[in-house]
């Protein structure tokens, strides 16, 4: 049988060889050969047509995070490709496995500002793990093989392959490579240096107030069980970065939840008072640490991460552990002496009691505020037996605070880049990778409008996604900062919103608008009862702030805390 294939055919056959069965894209002039080959040769790959290429990139990202497999997006040259950039940067910051395929002008036109030409390799350089420009069909198969390998191994990340149109149309003998040759890339997983592991064990064994911070790396490494065993063996409280939520069950007695800028007060006190901090698979970025020099001032910090460039990048650490979290924790466990820390546990319990006394949900109020919605969503879904995909802003923080994640990969959110508009398309990608799962989008009215065109994708693909819009008529988080730091000058933050229920209806998606606290539970039930997609437009009280808050340049101990008493509103 002939092995002659066009570049377009090589692309599809390579995707199939990589196990890809869905691609998110939007065709254009520079990808016509690719799309034609899909139709003509009927590859077993489902193409999801998006409204905007940014949506395609977020869908591939959500697919990748939800499944651990590589998500694929496809865009044409020029503006199609540049529309991917926000999504690629989002995936890069949060280590999501994505391969982006873009069309490029023919090689004869390259470099002379042709129609829909852009230097996509140059533009995507800083926001991809690696990228390729294919000007010779002989390079295509190898590039695709390498792209998938790079995207999913080591620290996952987005890889872009830019394919010139004439390469798509050319022909060559094709055989998909069975190995890669990348002398500069060594993703093989190994445990950290034994001497460093031994030192870590010694530090843990002698610590009086130990603390673990679990990051997304625990989920990527699949080290949940080892983390739990370590925490339980030595009675170590476990805090979480935003992306680490769910790596350690939030209802576990040792779980102390999100730390950092919007972490609960007791969590931040624990971080600032601990004497040994083991950070696992967390970047220790500024949202978690507060001012770098003030982070965990009483602790020796042990930083375990697969990526050597992350270890000690931000805060000054005592012991680096460069290696795979799973293998390293397995090496560490036998060296850790079982013990408990009753005084430390009692101290944390005392701080927690104080936090609980200020809890928004503990206050009697008829005002419809987002934390109540988050908690009701948790109850309604069997205490969080679903996938939550949040957008960016106040609602994202309240979800992290009020929706206790007990299952791994039950939260997908844009943490590193903080990309508004992420949630709806990411949920589409996630739902397609987990068709049987209940998937909720929780988005603010600002972020939702950035990518709400993808409602058409939800409808066209018949995805049973439930959408909760936390609608306060403002860019809430920005408004909060203006409230606290800029004397309530709400510059550019009030929003002119459409009626979201009518918008959903225009796409054939049923919807409900909820303005009363008493209607929340019923509305959620109504949404869940719907077999297909459903949109809930929660019109919430606009001036609630997320507390606590660590201001920029401050330490985690210097939190602005929620006023005591019955004020739901701040003034």
């Amino acid at each position: 049988m002939s092995t002659r294939r066009t570049g377009a055919q090589i692309l599809w056959e390579s995707l199939v060889a990589e196990g890809v069965n869905v691609v998110f894209g939007l065709p254009g002039g520079a990808t016509l050969p690719i799309y034609d080959a899909l139709a003509r040769d009927a590859y077993p790959v489902h193409h999801v047509l998006v409204t905007h290429e940014q949506g395609a990139a977020h869908m591939a990202d959500g697919y990748g995070r939800a499944s651990g497999r590589v998500g694929v997006c496809l865009a044409t040259s020029g503006p199609g490709a540049t529309n991917l950039i926000t999504g690629l940067a989002t995936a890069a910051m949060d280590s999501a496995p994505v391969v982006a395929i873009t069309g490029q002008v023919a090689t004869s036109l390259l470099g002379r500002d042709g129609f829909q030409e852009a230097d996509v390799q140059g533009i995507s350089l800083p926001v991809t793990k690696h990228n390729y420009l294919i000007t010779d069909i002989a390079d295509l198969a190898v590039a695709l093989k390498e792209a998938f390998y790079i995207a999913r191994t080591g620290r996952p990340g987005p890889v872009l392959v830019d394919i010139c149109k004439d390469v798509q149309q050319a022909s060559t003998d094709f055989e998909y490579p069975d190995s890669v040759n990348l002398p500069g890339y060594h993703p093989a997983l190994q445990a950290a240096d034994p001497a460093a592991v031994a030192r870590t064990a010694a530090l843990l064994n002698e610590a009086e107030r130990p603390l673990i911070i679990a990051g997304q790396g625990v989920l990527i490494a699949g080290a949940d069980a080892e983390l739990r065993e370590l925490a339980e063996r030595a009675s170590i409280p476990v805090a979480s970065s935003l992306l680490g939520l769910g790596a350690f069950p939030a209802t576990h007695p040792l779980a102390i939840g999100l730390g950092g800028m919007h972490g609960e007060a007791y969590t931040n006190y624990a971080i600032q008072e601990c004497d040994l901090l083991l950070a696992i698979g967390a970047r220790l970025d500024d949202r978690l640490t507060g001012a770098f020099s003030t982070f965990a001032p009483k602790a020796r910090i042990v930083h375990l991460d697969l990526d050597p460039s992350e270890v000690g990048k931000t805060v000054t650490i005592d012991t680096p552990l460069v290696g795979d979290a799973l293998l390293t924790l397995r090496a560490l466990l036998p060296l850790v002496i079982p013990r408990d820390h009753p005084a430390w546990a009692a101290q944390i319990a005392e701080w927690k009691a104080d936090t609980d006394s200020r809890d928004l949900l503990a206050q009697e109020s008829d005002v419809l505020a987002p934390p109540f919605i988050m908690r009701q969503l948790w109850h309604a879904t069997g205490q969080g037996d679903c996938l939550m995909v949040t957008d960016v802003g106040q609602h994202q923080m309240w979800e992290a605070q009020y929706f206790p994640h007990t299952k791994r990969r039950s939260l997908i959110t844009s943490g590193g880049l903080g990309t508004m508009g992420f949630a709806l398309p990411a949920a589409i990608g996630a739902q397609m990778s987990r068709p049987a799962e209940e998937v909720w989008v929780v988005a603010g009215d600002g972020g939702f409008q950035m990518t709400m065109g993808e409602l058409s994708t939800v409808a066209a693909e018949h995805l049973p996604i439930k959408i909760a819009i936390i609608n306060n008529g403002y860019l809430g988080m920005v408004r909060q900062w203006q409230d606290i730091f800029y004397e309530k000058r709400y510059s550019g933050t009030p929003l002119f919103n459409p009626d979201f229920a009518k918008i959903a209806d225009a796409y054939g998606i049923p919807a409900l608008t909820v303005s009363e606290k008493d209607d929340v539970v019923g509305a959620i039930e109504r949404a869940r009862a719907e077999k297909g997609p459903f949109l809930l437009n929660f019109k919430v009280e606009p001036f609630t702030n997320v507390y606590p808050m660590v201001a920029p340049g401050k330490s985690n101990a210097e939190m602005i805390r929620r006023p005591l008493g019955s004020e739901m509103l701040n003034d």
């Binding site: 500069g184 890339y185 050597p308 680096p320």
Partner: protein, 176 residues
């Protein structure tokens, strides 16, 4: 403090751009950069001088190693090395000053590579401080034009094959 680093990378189109782009976005303070072929086909060698503290140097090394095409990075600042630089200096030289300049060139073991009625082009290769000193000397006569390559460096003595990372370098043991 100024550190001398050597990085080996695959000789593929755009690799220099990847490295330069990395230096820019990570805000590394690069003083000089030289790149060329090596004894290994398909591998280029870059020598660069970067200013920063120990923590920044760890970042330079680890971030460079993250680039798929970079095969090895070595900070040779503390190692016994041979370091050299080449400079071509076009110096103002008339009949009155020419012989003095030639004497200086002789003292510095530099070579005249071009002569004109009012200027000379002198080539000097050597350790950086000698080149600096010579440039300063010629400065008194008026330097019309100068090009310097920047530092290249090679660790003295016998060692392992340079272009590919050692095992302990791959898992970051040596950096920590």
């Amino acid at each position: 403090m100024k550190h001398t680093m050597v990085a080996w990378m695959e000789d593929k189109p755009g690799v220099l751009n990847r490295v330069a782009s990395l230096f820019r976005r990570r805000n590394f303070n690069i003083e000089s950069l030289v790149v060329g072929h090596t004894e290994t086909p398909g591998i280029s060698r870059m020598t660069f001088v970067v200013d920063g503290d120990e923590k920044e140097m760890r970042q330079v090394e680890t971030q460079l190693m993250k680039l798929i095409n970079v095969t090895r990075v070595q900070d040779v600042t503390e190692r016994p090395t041979v370091t050299r630089e080449l400079a071509l200096i076009k110096v103002h030289a008339d009949s009155a000053s020419r012989s003095e300049i030639l004497q200086l060139a002789d003292i510095y073991r530099a070579n005249v590579v071009d002569v004109a009625l009012d200027c000379l082009v002198i080539q000097i290769a050597g350790a950086e401080d000698r080149v600096e000193s010579f440039v300063e000397m010629l400065g008194h006569f008026g330097i019309k034009e100068m090009v310097r390559t920047g530092r290249i460096a090679m660790v003295r003595g016998n060692g392992v094959k340079p272009a590919f990372a050692l095992k302990e370098e791959i898992n970051g043991e040596d950096l920590l």
